[in-house]
């Protein structure tokens, strides 16, 4: 009864909330005020080209601009940003971008095509590890040329979903003179962009602050005077800040669970809009293919078979997730293998008895007395809960895990170096809603987050063919073949689920639209505060 009552309250809040959005859509924007929200952890490093954690993106999102971006007013639409317009050649292999005039960097230096070339030469450099933008563009782009100070041309290796990648929040343009001066973009003083906000302050573990860029190239924007991002680690702290009204927005990873959303609805009543949304993020269990015991394909298969994804989603996400698939139909439509088919595959099928028994036999074949494994996990979101559940499942098949937890940035550093045997849980967020993202990010040899060193020539070939295929029906078939192939393989990155969750927006925060990836629409260039 109590749960039903809470759900009713939540439903009413949702209805009132969405009604309010519509009712206030025509109001005149107001200038001033400071927007407050939070990062789930301390980014530590700030180079948007070289890093992949969401907190790095959030810390720098409003500071930089891209050539393109997802329209803040219509987050599914690709819109010009630093590029005023662009043209594509008939064969789809050449894109020419015409840049805005008069744009200045935050330090007053003029922006030009040389900055664009310096940025993308850096991202496309085979020696430069760029897990997001670089990993996505390298298979597509052959080269970048400056045609004149305000025109830049990209040559592709083959037609590809290039514009979607260019609009990604990770493909921000950095200043050539800043890259030359600092060598990278890691430090706060190197955060010199062309975006709506200037990077003002970074207090480690506490706060990141932006201030309004009065010389922003879109006249009249931004509306707010600044943005404060509190670094809030852990669900209780984040929820407490939300309940106390200390943050105006929770539209970032980790999403709230249902019980948290209900608690917030009770605390804040109709002052907030609460909504459910996919976070375009896949939950992965990583196994290192070059380290014992998971250098043995049968041990990787045992883990794949032994994990009960449905239980993991039911308990740790309170049901808000799509188990098993490598692609989520909600996000990419028919590119995703139908869930009916996925849920019949070994490892995903229910009941689990047959798979668990087979997994136990595989482990016993190599380790008759079971095996002890160190299991790495970052202490963020509810990862520790997920990890404990996973360990309980692995014990049933003879794998005894010992958790080793890392602070957020330290964990990423360790994972990136491949210094782990198993990672209990790691969400990887997509940069776009293109189905190719997850393969460029995780499942190909050169993937930016292929931390377990998985390499399968057939998967690489299918991923490249699917990425560059222009016929939609053929592309769908190729992606289906690729998913079937990977779901049968002894992967190093076992897909557990696509994560959904609950978010909130304070009703005084106006003109904010939820992006389709966790990374987009975080520049706040068009949001304003009602009071």
């Amino acid at each position: 009864m109590r749960t039903a009552r809470y759900l009713s309250v939540l439903a009413i809040v949702l209805l009132i909330g969405f009604g309010a959005i519509g009712a206030t859509a025509q109001e005149k924007p107001r200038y001033g005020g400071i927007l407050t929200w939070f990062d789930y952890g301390d980014p530590g490093r700030l180079d948007v080209h070289a890093e992949s954690p969401l907190v790095v993106q959030q810390a720098t999102a409003g500071v930089y601009s891209g050539l393109l971006h997802y329209d803040p007013d219509e987050p599914t639409r690709i819109a010009p940003d630093l590029a005023e317009r662009w043209t594509a050649s008939p064969d789809g292999k050449t894109y020419t971008f015409h840049l805005r005039k008069g744009v200045k960097w935050h330090d007053g230096q003029p922006f030009s095509a040389a900055d664009v070339k310096a940025t993308f030469d850096r991202l496309l450099n085979p020696e430069f590890k760029s897990p997001k933008c670089g990993a996505r563009l390298k298979p597509m782009v052959a080269g970048v040329e400056v045609l004149d100070p305000l025109t830049v041309q990209f040559r592709l290796k083959a037609p590809a979903p290039f514009l979607q990648s260019m609009a990604s929040a990770w493909c921000r343009v950095a200043a050539k003179h800043v890259l030359e001066k600092y060598g990278d973009l890691q430090k706060p003083e190197a955060q010199i962009g062309t975006g709506p906000f200037r990077f003002k302050r970074y207090e480690r573990g506490n706060l990141i602050e932006w201030e309004k860029n009065k010389d922003y190239f879109i006249p009249g924007l931004p509306y707010v005077d600044g943005v404060k991002q509190f670094i809030l680690v852990g669900g209780p702290t984040q929820l407490a800040a939300a309940k106390a009204g200390r943050v105006m927005l929770w539209d970032t990873w980790p999403p709230m669970r249902k019980t948290q959303a209900e608690e917030l609805a009770r605390a804040r009543g109709d002052t907030v809009d609460i909504y459910q949304h996919p976070v375009n993020t896949i939950w992965i269990v990583y196994l290192h293919t070059q380290k014992p015991p998971f250098d043995k394909p049968e041990m990787r298969r045992a883990v794949k078979l032994g994990i009960d994804r449905q239980e993991l989603v039911a308990k740790s996400l309170e049901g808000a997730g799509v188990p098993c698939g490598i692609l989520d139909p909600k996000l990419v439509g028919d590119y995703a293998l139908p869930l009916d088919e996925v849920n019949k595959l070994p490892g995903c099928r229910q009941p689990k008895d047959q798979d668990v028994e087979e997994a136990r036999k595989l482990v016993a074949k190599h380790f008759p007395n079971g095996v002890d494994v160190e299991v790495a996990v970052r202490s963020v979101g509810n990862y520790l809960d997920r990890a404990q559940l996973l360990l309980a499942q692995l014990r049933k098949i003879g794998i005894r895990g010992t958790l080793k937890s890392y602070e957020s940035a330290a964990g990423f550093a360790v994972f990136g170096k491949g210094d782990f045997t198993m990672i209990a849980t790691q969400d990887r967020a997509m940069d776009t809603t293109d189905p190719g993202d997850v393969f460029a990010l995780v499942y190909t040899t050169q993937a930016g987050s292929n931390w377990g060193k998985f390499s399968d020539p057939k998967a690489d070939d299918l991923a490249l063919r699917a990425l560059t295929e222009t016929d939609r029906a053929k592309r769908v078939r190729l992606y289906h073949d690729l998913q079937r192939h990977l779901l049968q393989a002894d992967l190093s990155a076992i897909p557990v689920a696509w994560v959904d969750g609950y978010y909130f927006r304070d009703k005084k925060l106006m003109n904010y639209k939820h992006g389709w990836t966790a990374y987009d629409n975080n520049t706040f260039m068009k949001v304003w505060l009602k009071e």
């Binding site: 559940l389 010992t402 080793k404």
Partner: protein, 282 residues
């Protein structure tokens, strides 16, 4: 056996609160020893529905992962007492030996060692423990090591001051005059006379060690997350204060009861060994 009963009877009559503490501590020790028999389920067994309220089947309810909280509290007793006892035994024993030996020999070594003790005692204990755990990594053994380092300087300082007065006692001088070696004097004449204080230090510090372990685990730097630490259970409970208050209520009660029992017992032993208060039990 009759004399044991007589001693216990006198203890209960003289120190009723101490006797209550002893009963609580004995019950905890029994719970820890019989955890496999008493716990209805495994501490890490996540086989039930999450957030079930207390019921006949799950008297303490279940947690966010569907684990039986009663079983985890019972297994947690074993973990808490183990960490508390072992770290205190190591810390107080090592610190005590350090204090007694340096006090006995005196001189530059004693002065230098006391500056080390000063340095360690100048650091806030929980900050020191957190730093150590951050450096060492999460494991039960590392918690014990951190607690040992935390307890050592206090024990060294306390037992050194006692050993300084014992060193000047006539019987120590007599032993030296009789030709006993320094180590023989320390072993046979100084250490035995610090034993009562040593026992008090042990009993008083166990509850402290248990609370520090729970605090470290609460902050996510204690025992590994899946171990049934009461502190870690409190952390999990704090994430569902409104939805599942039983998640923090029962581990919280377990910590309180344990500290209460140990403090009552420790106070009673201190009173009995205080020369101004003691009248003996015999």
């Amino acid at each position: 056996m009759r004399w044991v009963a007589r001693v216990l009877g006198r203890f209960a009559a003289r120190q009723p609160l101490g006797a209550a503490g002893a009963v609580i501590v004995l019950a905890l020790v029994a719970t820890a020893a019989l955890a496999p028999q008493l716990a209805p389920h495994g501490a890490k067994e996540a086989a039930f529905a999450p957030y079930l309220p207390p019921s006949a089947e799950f008297p303490f309810g279940t947690d966010q992962l569907g684990r039986d909280i009663l079983s985890r509290v019972i297994w947690g007793t074993r973990l808490s007492l183990y960490v508390g006892l072992v770290s205190v035994m190591f810390g107080v024993t090592f610190g005590g030996l350090w204090g007694v030996v340096t006090a006995y020999f005196g001189g530059a070594a004693d002065t230098a060692s006391q500056r080390v003790v000063d340095t360690l005692m100048a650091l806030p204990p929980i900050i020191l423990a957190l730093s150590l755990m951050a450096a060492l990594g999460q494991s039960v053994n590392n918690v014990i090591l951190a607690l040992t380092l935390l307890l050592t300087p206090t024990a060294a300082r306390t037992l050194r001051s006692l050993a300084l007065s014992i060193r000047e006692s006539p019987y120590v001088e007599a032993a030296r005059a009789a030709g006993c070696s320094h180590w023989r004097v320390i072993a046979l004449h100084v250490l035995p006379n610090t034993f009562a204080t040593y026992i008090v230090l042990v009993t008083v510090n166990i509850s402290y060690a248990i609370v520090v372990e729970a605090s470290l685990s609460f902050l996510g730097l204690g025992t590994p997350p899946d171990e049934p630490s009461w502190g870690a259970m409190l952390t999990a409970g704090s994430q569902a204060v409104e939805a599942a208050p039983w998640m923090f209520l029962f581990p919280g009660l377990a910590i309180s009861l344990t500290v209460f029992g140990l403090n009552l017992l420790g106070d009673a032993i201190r009173d009995l060994t205080d020369p101004r208060l003691r009248g003996g039990l015999g």
